[in-house]
């Protein structure tokens, strides 16, 4: 039997012999479940709720639909449950994008700037065709929430 097989058995056995269940932490980590990609004719702004329900993301790519392998930019805002923009939206906020099927993200990190009630992010580049996800994470205390949008880029 290969060493990898023994590793499997060992890992399973160790997992099975675990002790008491650990208590859930104060905040669940953001999930990375894929959402349905937004159709190209989805009206703007595109919207997504954070996984904890703490904020809503409204996002406008430019150009729209997002082009393959060409620089583009985003403007987006984070709204509370009353539809009001969150205060200090850039504080403890992160933007990222990833190809979940490929296991990699972008090669660049966009610059974020708050202007006219929106956060402007530029440049972004989706260099490969396929499913891309944009993540907006916001951390308050021990809780990080994620709003995400999926895009098919061709």
């Amino acid at each position: 039997m290969k060493a990898s097989t023994w590793t499997w058995i060992l890992c399973l056995a160790l997992g099975a012999c675990g002790g008491e269940e650990t208590q859930p932490v104060a905040a669940d980590p953001p999930t990375a479940e894929s959402t349905d990609p937004k159709p190209a004719d989805e009206p703007l702004p595109l919207k997504a709720d954070a996984n904890g329900g703490g904020f809503r993301l409204e996002l406008i790519p430019s150009p729209h639909p997002i082009p393959l392998n060409r620089d583009f930019s985003l403007r987006f805002r984070l709204l509370d449950n009353e539809g009001q923009p969150l205060a200090e939206p850039l504080k403890h906020m992160a933007l990222d994008a990833d190809m979940p099927e490929h296991g990699h993200g972008m090669k660049i990190a966009p610059v974020l700037e708050e202007k006219d009630g929106w956060i402007h992010a530029s440049p972004l580049l989706f260099h490969m065709p396929g499913l891309w996800e944009i993540y907006v994470d916001r951390t308050q205390g021990h809780v990080t929430e994620r709003a995400q949008l999926s895009f098919k880029v061709y």
């Binding site: 099975a16 675990g18 269940e21 393959l68 620089d71 990699h104 090669k107 530029s122 490969m128």
Partner: protein, 404 residues
């Protein structure tokens, strides 16, 4: 308690899987080759061709200046730019071999670490060099001049040469006005002139370009430009060959970087940081698009280089090469590890000799397992990406650095 039960269940299922004779095989090449009469995926084809006009380079104010191109052509072949007067750009970027190198690993003043890629069509690239150490043609042209294993020159001596050689000085003044006192400015100007020449090294109107024009109802098309085998190869390229994952865009490259676990050439280093190092080099250089020698330090290219990330993901990644004009520029790969096209295709077909190193690697890579007929068709298509020959006057040194 529930968790413990779940774990025991996992253990039992795991053991059943381990001792089972019927393990699922990794699915490969799930996309069938479409028949010749099937409709073509026009949206995909539009990404591949025909070759569009060259993108502008606002970082280089003389990018499309004919006098600069002529001066740059002289400089490209001028061995006096090297430390010992024996090496020019054309030494490794040989016009006889598609402006690439016949050696797997480039040999300048000393043996390098990578293969010298083609300059033909380089003006379409977003990043230059296998690791993307430059963000413009002109920045790329400066690197080898002072690299100790390439031309091993010195910008002070090169500046002295330009100031003291009457013809060089006259050519420089024709393009830029007065020769600048600042050595770095003068050095950057030399790179920009070489870039202006390199922007002329474009082989247009390949059989694929002519054929795709007809398919897309564009003027100048020729539906017979690809024969049946080449069309079958194109369908494999678009389908089960999975080539367009990276080779997508008018140069048949995504212009970005991947770690495809290529085998190491015996003369090349096994450990090469690739893009990880290139990203740092281009960001740190004063000659990048955002730097003081750029003619558009607030432009799109400058914004991109500022946003570049030196991520551990990029360790060992190399730029996706263009697939245009392959015929005359063997060997292939960032270390020239593949002596011919057949060996490149065999590698991707079997992943034999794949060098599995640490760090992030391309997850989508899997053996294609195409048969010989399919590989032959794929090769036939790739060779149909050969554009028309360059005009004769561009493939050798001009008579003088200034035009008649």
């Amino acid at each position: 308690m529930r968790r413990t039960l779940l774990c025991w269940l996992c253990l039992v299922l795991g053991l059943l899987w381990v001792f089972s004779d019927k393990k699922p095989e990794t699915p490969v090449a799930p996309v069938p080759v479409t028949a010749l009469e099937d409709p073509w995926p026009l949206d995909l084809l539009r990404h591949l061709g025909p070759l569009p006009p060259l993108p502008a380079d606002p970082t280089n104010s003389v990018a499309d200046n004919p006098a600069a191109a002529h001066y740059g052509q002289w400089l490209f072949f001028d061995k006096r730019l090297s430390g010992d007067g024996e090496i020019s750009c054309a030494t490794c970027h040989d016009p006889e071999h598609g402006f690439a190198d016949t050696r797997p690993i480039a040999l300048g003043k000393a043996l390098g670490e990578r293969h010298a890629p083609t300059v033909i069509g380089a003006a379409y690239q977003r990043w230059l060099g296998w690791g993307g150490r430059a963000d413009s043609l002109w920045m790329q042209a400066l690197g080898p001049m002072e690299n100790e294993v390439e031309m091993a020159g010195d910008r002070q001596e090169i500046a002295h040469l330009v100031r003291s050689d009457p013809l060089l000085r006259q050519a420089h003044e024709e393009v830029y006005g007065e020769v600048p006192k600042d050595v770095d400015t003068l050095f950057a100007q030399l790179g920009k002139a070489i870039a202006a020449y390199e922007r002329l090294l474009i082989q247009k109107d390949s059989p694929f370009d002519l054929w795709v024009r007809s398919i897309l109802d564009l003027p100048g098309g020729d539906p017979t430009a690809l024969n049946e085998e080449q069309q079958r190869g194109l369908r494999i390229f678009l389908g089960p060959g999975r080539c367009t994952l990276c080779h997508l865009g008018p140069t048949l490259s995504d212009l970005e970087f991947h770690n495809n676990q290529l085998p190491t050439h015996p003369d090349g280093p096994r450990d090469d940081a690739g893009r990880y190092q290139g990203a740092r080099l281009v960001q740190e250089s004063p000659f990048n698009a955002a730097g003081p020698y750029s003619d558009a330090p607030e432009g799109e290219a400058a914004e991109r280089v500022r946003a570049l990330v030196q991520s551990s993901e990029s360790y060992g990644e190399f730029r996706t090469p263009t697939l245009r004009n392959l015929a005359r520029r063997a060997p292939y790969g960032h270390q020239g590890q593949f002596p011919d096209l057949g060996s490149v295709l065999r590698f991707y077909n079997t992943l034999e000799d794949q060098d599995l190193r640490s760090h992030h690697q391309e997850q989508l890579l899997q053996p294609l397992r195409l048969d010989n007929a399919a590989l032959g068709a794929l090769k036939a298509f790739l060779l149909a990406l050969e554009g028309r020959d360059l005009p004769g006057h561009l493939v050798h040194a001009p008579v003088a650095p200034i035009r008649d």
